[in-house]
């Protein structure tokens, strides 16, 4: 019999694959992959603050704080780039700022810091029913928004000026994209941790774009690669007794490496 935790892990991998196929692929198309990793650390800072507040003052869901922080950081980066700041610089500054906050909050947690460590590393096989619910709600939100705005987001990413000239509010879709990334990142936080969000959100989509160079090909491929990596990670962790997310990350990276050898 499969353990309930393992079943939850498998369901989570399936849901993560959907996030990776949508948010991940479009982040790769947009060229905002560093952004994803910046937001992941913003989310970590938020979660650490949430844990601190819960212990010191009043109970608040760390993931909710993570969501608030990452949306805030995403919008701040969006604002900076609309002011003609280089996106890498803007993300870099936010990265530094959020890591400083994260370390600050973690050090305030003192002996409880290990709770927050869970969010840094995550664990696919330790998900609560509530974690899974958050994941499901996030995925439904993301999928609905993509279904509705798919082509508009695509146009805004491919050729923002012409999209604007044809009457689309590119700023609006940019912001929407930032928020979707933030939601996707937080959804993955509990499962794979801030450090490895990148490994399952970006690496599969990047590999997939090389292997199946079309928009729909990238999306489907990213889904499959994430699924293989995640399930492979859970399966191997049985035998190796190490964190499944690390193995999932390694499998995804290996698939990316293989995609590099393919002729484009």
């Amino acid at each position: 019999m499969l353990d309930i935790l393992v079943i939850r892990g498998i369901i989570a991998v399936f849901l993560i694959s959907i996030v990776s196929a949508t948010v991940g692929s479009f982040s790769v198309f947009r060229g905002s992959t560093f952004f994803v990793s910046g937001i992941a650390h913003g989310a970590l800072a938020g979660a650490a603050l949430g844990i601190f507040l819960t212990l010191a003052l009043f109970p608040i869901d760390p993931l909710l704080m993570a969501m608030i922080f990452s949306v805030f950081f995403a919008l701040a980066i969006g604002y900076a780039t609309s002011r003609r700041e280089d996106v890498d610089v803007a993300v870099g500054v936010m990265f530094a700022f959020s890591m400083s906050l994260a370390v600050l909050f973690l050090s305030m947690l003192r002996e409880y810091a290990s709770i927050a460590w869970g969010l840094l590393i995550g664990d696919l096989l330790l998900l609560s029913q509530e974690d899974l619910t958050i994941l499901v709600v996030s995925v439904i939100t993301i999928v609905l928004i993509f279904l509705i705005f798919y082509r508009k987001i695509m146009y805004s990413i491919f050729d923002p000026e012409s999209a604007e000239a044809s009457g689309l509010h590119v700023m609006w879709y940019d912001t929407l994209m930032f928020i979707l990334i933030a939601v996707g990142v937080v959804a993955l936080l509990k499962c794979v941790g801030a450090i490895l969000v990148y490994a399952l959100l970006i690496v599969p989509a990047a590999a997939s774009r090389r292997m199946f160079p079309s928009v729909s090909g990238t999306i489907v491929g990213a889904f499959v690669i994430t699924l293989i990596s995640g399930l492979g990670g859970i399966y191997l962790s049985y035998y190796l007794a190490v964190a499944p997310s690390s193995l999932a990350g390694l499998i995804a990276a290996a698939i990316y490496a293989v995609s590099l050898f393919r002729r484009r």
Binding site: R30, M154, F158, D159, E161, S162, A165, G167, P213, S214
Partner: protein
């Protein structure tokens, strides 16, 4: 029916990029815009499209630029395209048609095919856009600008990255469109289009000169425009610039 611009001034972060431009263009005409790099040509086009804030007034068939967008087809300078996105040629041309609807309709596909055929790229329908050469991409983007069947075409350096053959083919297409559309086209080399140009705008931070080819393209004006002597020959009362592309 005309496009009118009154006292147009554009600033970026308080630095003036374009000052006090006044022009009136009757529909349909072909207007060539010339000027050195950084002169404000793209800035002028973007204000016609309502893409940037400006002072002054712009009326496109009596409408403000933002309200006139459905009347305009736009071919941006090529460096504004994001090639990280592996779109197919068909998807690129369909974008303006389908971005506002949920489904791809048959008529969308027919129009996209019609205009890809028009630019001679229909056989690349299923190919990836980023696998095309620069000149081929330019043609596809030209088809995309036409696909909404706009009255006004705004083309920012459509000949960049095109070889002589493609350039002449595009010129031939412009000949066919002229007379039904008003076309604003930024060029560094007017020679291939000299015969079908109605009006020329010389831009250097402001409108240096505006008029017909023979009125505007004088050695004095070109020297003022580029700040250096421009060798040219005169034929049929029209000056041709020798040495072609002034792009450094």
């Amino acid at each position: 029916m005309s496009i009118e611009v009154y006292n147009l001034t554009v600033r970026y972060d308080n630095k003036i990029a374009l000052e006090n431009v006044n022009v009136k263009v009757e529909h349909p005409s072909l207007v060539v815009i010339m000027g050195p790099n950084g002169a404000g040509k793209t800035t002028f086009l973007k204000s016609l499209l309502g893409l940037i804030p400006y002072e002054g007034e712009i009326k496109i068939f009596g409408k403000d630029p933002k309200k006139a967008r459905s009347l305009i087809g736009y071919l941006p300078q090529r460096d504004s395209i994001n090639t990280n996105m592996p779109l197919k040629v068909k998807e690129v041309v369909l974008l303006p048609l389908v971005s506002k609807s949920f489904t791809i309709k048959k008529e969308h596909v027919e129009k996209a095919k019609k205009y890809l055929e028009f630019v001679g790229m229909l056989d690349r329908w299923n190919d990836r856009f980023d696998s095309l050469s620069g000149g081929q991409q330019q043609r596809v983007l030209f088809a995309r600008a036409l696909v909404t069947e706009p009255k006004v075409l705004i083309l920012d350096e459509p000949f960049s990255a095109t070889d002589v053959k493609t350039k002449m083919e595009l010129v031939e297409l412009l000949h066919r469109l002229k007379g039904e559309k008003t076309i604003f086209i930024v060029l560094h080399d007017i020679n291939p289009l000299v015969e079908c140009t109605d009006m020329v705008m010389l831009i250097q931070k402001t409108l240096l000169s505006f008029g017909t080819v023979s009125e505007v393209l004088t050695p004095e004006n070109l020297e003022k425009l580029y700040g250096t002597k421009v060798p040219m020959i005169r034929r049929d009362n029209v000056c041709y610039i020798v040495g072609g592309d002034r792009h450094a």
